[in-house]
Subunit: 350 residues, 2 copies
DNA sequence: GATTAGCACTCGAGTATGCCGAGTGCCAGA
DNA sequence: TCTGGCACTCGGCATACTCGAGTGCTAATC
């Protein structure tokens, strides 16, 4: 990231004023407008603007329009010029009240994304907790018709995962109960990835000493623990339609690719996962995300943690021209609250 | 519904041609265009068109444009003029192959809606099966931390419903097992609504003869059976973004209300449920649905059945100007296949 | 040396204007 | 009953023009 030490105090102030104004009004801002705020004449402002343009921090869409920030301009703005407004305590309380009452992680995340999208009037996206980082808590098998078995897996965040498994033969409820008890004793409390490792190695080691049921059940348990690292729908989006209201995005072509991206998962999840490990709030402006459909947008993310391990990401998607000083603290706090709410439950194992 | 017996053979043919042409091209059709098809002169056509306009079947957007069908025009068209094209056997096979392999009803419906939306390039909406009409198959309780109990309910369509219940006190796994066995014996095979009735009356009757655990568990079972008549997300929508491609709907305002309607449930579900009991394919054109966001759209629905009881609805949403003769058979057949796939499983109780 | 006023220039948005073509309604004639 | 002809209507498109906001540059001023 380029820094701009050569930038005079005044130039910085001016850039800040320009970005703020552009974010507020959405139209290229001219020298006159800034001159009033700064107590300088338009001509002076124009000189400074010319410098800023040379540095690639602002551009003008055409000769006789005002200037607007480039991606680098926004970057500099959010990195060092921005004065973040702390979130009102009332809002924090409101968030917490809503979140702490949720039963399952899924509901919790749904509530969180809904709240954030409403507060920002933008779209909010949340990834489900990564299973690898969660602890295995409990597994249960239920016989269904024919040779299908329902595996019910409870993870340390108290989320319930169902999976239907096609068994090699049919099992009685009693047999399955025995198997479940066995695995629960074996893996309970271990984290998901090591639980699976452990399960596999044990099955391998004890192959001859174990009964047939257990071996079969072992394979089923293995399948249940796998299921990729996340559930089928690995993230939630709320408030997408809010994005239709921004003139900046009012282009059916763009909106369509954006909405399609929400519906399809891989790239979005990859992008969010890449924000998982950086602590604090991460901001991707326009093309910085390296993801086409998000080009006209900015993404503000923060990760949330269970047991001090970052397991998921909460993000806000909106036009590049968004009120960062409000969005940043909201995303930050909400992610923390989500983590707190997840930690608050599920600490007492069964 | 008004019928138009006074309509001459020729007028009907002409209306048909006009609607077809308008559906195909999307522009008001003039007398010249129709004259070529009909082997008549434009002037003659104009006379007939004037009649049709007087009857309210077509209009012209302005003096010197061609004509396009009104809602009544479309109505007459789909009711008595339309020649439905039977679905190619290849497509039927393709659908069936895809559907029959699905494990859970949810996956099945997801697959169905995805397929239909892709085949039509429009949006497809499917309601989840109504629980009241399904049979209770199995319930299981799992103790979670503190006083929370996970109720797992399996219905006759082999769908799995999870619900976390806050219990009056904590229960051991064994206690819960006993209770589950009791309820399974009591209600197994009964249909959902009567199962709940039965449960309640039994609990009332036997109040003093039953143990405390069972009474408490009874209340939990009651809660599990309730959960409204459908799950939280009572319907699925796929291919919404396809709608952005239709010029007829290319209006951000409209699209926004439409998309918001998809996200929020009540009205859509109400609308679809009202199509549940009419057999065969039902078509709602434009404002006929009585639902604002759907005004520029048509809705083609058919219900699907389990055990000969209509339990859900599959529908296609697209511009009024859609190829009904293709959509109708597709919706019809797909709904039947969904029913067949649901019936095919879950007949053998555990 | 930094700041400012003045001036010529650029460009987009909005508006008026005119033309073309597709389509209509109506009437008279086949 | 059908058809050809004719006058008329109206939207779409292109052209031309004006207006205003804004710029860059230069020379004068603090």
């Amino acid at each position: 990231m380029a820094s701009f030490p050569e930038l005079s105090e005044r130039a910085q102030h001016l850039l800040k004023a320009l970005v703020e104004r552009y974010i507020g009004e959405g139209q290229p801002v001219g020298s006159r407008a800034l001159a009033k705020d700064a107590g300088l004449s338009p001509a002076t402002i124009r000189n400074v603007m010319a410098d800023l343009e040379e540095l690639g921090l602002i551009t003008s869409p055409h000769t006789s329009a005002g200037r607007l920030p480039t991606v680098s301009g926004y970057r500099l703005f959010v990195d060092s010029l921005l004065t973040v407004k702390p979130l009102q305590q009332g809002i924090v309380d409101h968030l917490w009240c809503d979140l702490e009452t949720r039963d399952s992680p899924r509901e919790l995340l749904e509530a969180a994304s809904k709240l954030v999208s409403e507060l920002t009037h933008m779209a909010c996206i949340v990834t489900m907790p990564r299973r690898e980082s969660l602890a295995f808590q409990h597994i249960e098998f239920l016989p269904l018709s024919e040779q299908r078995v329902l595996a019910i897996l409870v993870t340390s965040d108290q989320e319930i995962h169902n999976k239907i498994i096609h068994a090699p033969r049919s099992f009685s409820a009693a047999e399955l109960q025995v198997a479940a008890n066995f695995f629960n004793a074996m893996c309970g409390g271990k984290d998901m990835a090591t639980a699976r490792e452990h399960l596999r190695s044990e099955l391998q080691k004890e192959r001859e000493r174990l009964s047939d049921e257990l071996l079969h059940a072992g394979e089923m348990a293995d399948q249940a623990l796998q299921v990729g690292s996340r559930s089928k729908k690995p993230f939630l989006v709320r408030g997408e339609t809010n994005l239709m209201d921004f003139v900046d995005l009012a282009d059916l072509e763009r909106l369509r690719t954006l909405f399609d991206a929400f519906r399809q998962k891989e790239s979005i999840v990859g992008l969010l996962d890449s924000c998982l490990d950086s602590p604090g709030v991460k901001i991707l402006i326009g093309e910085e995300s390296g993801f086409r459909p998000l080009e006209p947008c900015s993404l503000v993310t923060a990760s949330y943690s269970v047991d001090d391990r970052a397991v998921g990401v909460l993000g806000v998607i909106g036009p590049t021209r968004m009120k960062y000083e409000r969005v940043i603290p909201l995303v930050d706090i909400t992610a923390k609250l989500v983590g707190a709410a997840l930690n608050q439950r599920g600490l007492v194992p069964t």
